[in-house]
């Protein structure tokens, strides 16, 4: 067995029944050198303090539940190695979200925004199974594939300065996913989505801080998606005065 290292974790605690505002608690534990931040939290929960609450499941960077703030940066804790930090590590909930308890944040705000971008294939007439699969070239697939990689981990929301201030802003992940469908050759709903994007503050309030793409653990590039979506939106908006559109897609 490899030798043990000692590290200090300063963890945000918040119990809505007892605490007016969040406070911190310090744990000093022995860790394995190849642990991730999440391993340390689970170790604390299992052996030191079972009252610590945090979300996690897959521990392989794909379910998106374990986003937290580590030494100030939004991180996917199951992928973030302990070895990249010093002896003291601060762990707090994701910024920009109301805090439910300890490291658990309120996600419903995102779920509402996500619903608004209509993240599904919209068509005027549903294709029948008997027609078989749609043809889509590898290039057409590549046009949106990257944006479909979002695991809804919310790191981008936590890093974006506009999210902090503009409640109507749909935010990086929701917009990237909306754009993903607009870019899909199988979809016919871009006019409907663009109208949603054009709503007050929904997309144009993004000031291209680019923080979202910097922190995204899955290289979704939401900042790029948003800028592309804005340009597409302007074109869609301009042509909407010339061409009348039926909005009978669903």
């Amino acid at each position: 067995m490899s030798e043990k290292l000692k590290k200090t974790f300063i963890v945000t605690r918040f119990d809505p029944d007892k605490d007016e505002v969040p406070k911190t608690q310090t744990y000093e534990i022995e860790v394995e050198p190849d642990w991730k931040i999440l391993d340390a939290l689970n170790h604390i929960k299992d052996t030191v303090d079972p009252t610590l609450s945090h979300r996690w499941s897959c521990r392989m960077a794909v379910c998106g539940s374990c986003g937290m703030t580590v030494n100030g940066e939004p991180k996917l804790t199951c992928k973030d190695p302990l070895s990249s930090y010093g002896d003291t590590i601060e762990i707090s909930p994701l910024a920009n979200f109301p805090i439910v308890r300890d490291l658990v944040v309120e996600l419903e705000g995102f779920m509402e925004k996500f619903q608004e971008v209509k993240p599904w294939i919209m068509v005027a007439k549903e294709r029948a199974v008997e027609e078989g699969t749609t043809r889509q070239s590898p290039e057409e697939l590549a046009d949106f594939k990257g944006f479909s990689m979002c695991i809804n981990c919310m790191l981008c929301y936590s890093a974006c300065p506009v999210v902090s201030n503009e409640p109507e802003f749909l935010g990086p992940a929701a917009l990237a996913l909306g754009h993903r469908y607009n870019q899909d050759t199988r979809d016919e709903g871009s006019h409907v989505r663009n109208a949603v994007f054009r709503d007050e503050g929904a997309i144009f309030s993004c000031s291209f801080a680019n923080e979202c793409s910097e922190v995204c653990p899955k290289n979704v590039n939401p900042s790029g998606a948003i800028q592309q979506a804005k340009l597409a939106n302007v074109i869609d908006w301009a042509t909407s005065f010339v061409v009348k559109r039926g909005e009978d897609v669903s």
């Binding site: 705000g109 929301y157 201030n165 503009e166 409640p167 680019n210 800028q227 592309q228």
Partner: protein, 147 residues
Amino acid sequence: MSELRPRVDAMKPRAPMPTRTADPRPPDKFPSRGRYPSYLAFGACGAFLLLSAQLLIRGVWALGDGEAAWDAYIVSFGHPVYLAYHVAAFIGLTWFALRLFRLFPATQPNRMGPMKRPADAVLVAGLYGVFFTVLAVGTLFLGGALL
């Protein structure tokens, strides 16, 4: 600007929350940490865009007013305040342009027309090339050394 708080309703759902929550926190140490200063400085360079474009307008306006007005316009730039501003503006605008061009590739779709998008590094190099060419050729031309 003591401590910037996000709006408490920033990511709050419209539906009522079933339990009491603590207010959202701002991104850690906004605006001084990590890449935030660079982003905010980029936004602040908007002031250079606005002011320098307005000074250019003043110049073209002076051209319309006649030779004396134009000469006075050029002479006015000899004032130390203008000189200081323009040194800052030149540095600011150049940095602004370079940051913009560095981020630019991400904003481009996967395909540009029939072409696949070149690698990001290639695009950035291209844009930097354009910037410095425009700067060099523009300077020589405007400065009278070309043509």
